[in-house]
Symmetry: C2
Subunit: 190 residues, 2 copies
DNA sequence: AATTTTACTTCAAAATTTGAAGTAAGTTAC
DNA sequence: GTAACTTACTTCAAATTTTGAAGTAAAATT
């Protein structure tokens, strides 16, 4: 059985596509059935990818909503993610590229908009004048803080007890592993 | 400690952004340090979202490469994901929307391209002539089969033992939970 | 000093996504 | 039975995001 799974995928509770889970946060956040899978199906590499795509889409639209509430009009959710990627450190464009697996021209474009909007400062490095040093302005920090603040509610819903924490941790690590495996495969072939 | 984490995030091994993990599949696929976190940092809701974004980006480019290898020129990775979402069942556009949290006009657009490329068949339902029934053609099934086949190698790398399987399962379930929480929040507010 | 490499930017084109408006079929309420 | 409404989808134009090719200037190498 394990052998077969190793070849083909992973067992998981619940149907992959039908959303039979209840449709309200109070209920879906409950633990019923979560720890003790009943009937199981097989998840492949692709099912995971599809799940990731869906979750990503949901988050993007959530972020868009959050930003609309904050009255941010000059930049979109993608730019906000770049802002969050910068965080509270000063870094070069190259470092930022690594942080998000962006493409250079893409980041360059976003940084231009963020600089125009006054969210970041861009200074040529003293030691290497090719390299631009990026950091958030007051305004940029404020936006990040607001977004993080709005996110607090989700943290509370998602991480309710030690069990949740463990699962989130495992999910994070597993995604990191996917990131490495898929990334290396793209560069060196599997 | 737990109380603080519940409010702010989740403990995880390793730095979030620096990729100090080795850069080759052989090494990164190893288990060293994976089960026993040493130094820990806090992951928030946002770090998870950023991770998901990165992993999604990586997968998309992998899929693009895979499709180039297969000589697919008429549709892109996004359309291929739609194809995979359809799978081996016949369904309506509405059902497909639910499967991927797509927007209607978007799917409509993709379906048009997929139909033009001969990857899907589209028949008006007998019972309700507004509703289009979608299913893969021979060609569509072939592409899906090829992609699934290419994906087999990743399944083997990602799911090497029972421990990996457990982690992948937990990651899948946790992402599903994120999907529900973020989705409900978008519709009803948190 | 010439050449190559690095670190980025620019620009145009392509791909993806959104949103508003439309159509046609089905449903409901007179 | 028909007017009004809803559902299931499509179309189109615009916005956003992403890619890729070409460029620039500084640094490193030869």
């Amino acid at each position: 059985m394990i052998q077969k799974l190793l070849r083909e995928g992973v067992e998981v509770e619940t149907s992959i596509d039908g959303y039979e889970a209840a449709d309200f946060p109070e209920i879906t956040a409950e633990k019923q059935g979560h720890r003790h899978p009943v009937h199981t199906v097989v998840v492949t590499h692709f099912e995971l990818a599809r799940m990731i795509e869906r979750v990503n889409r949901r988050f993007a639209s959530l972020l868009r909503t959050e930003m609309t509430k904050l009255g941010i009009e000059d930049v979109g959710p993608a730019q906000a993610m770049v802002l969050m990627a910068i965080g509270d450190v000063e870094l070069s464009v190259g470092e930022l590229l690594d942080r998000g697996h962006y493409v250079g021209s893409n980041i360059s474009y976003y940084l231009k908009q963020l600089a125009d909007g006054g969210y970041i400062d861009r200074v040529a490095s003293q030691r290497d004048k090719r390299s631009a040093r990026i950091r958030l302005t007051e305004k940029g920090e404020q936006l990040c803080a607001n977004l993080r603040n709005a996110g607090g509610a989700y943290n509370r819903v998602l991480a309710r007890d030690a069990d949740d924490l463990r699962n989130l941790e495992i999910a994070f690590q597993t995604l990191h592993r996917l990131e490495l495996v898929w990334g290396n495969a793209a560069r060196y072939g599997i």
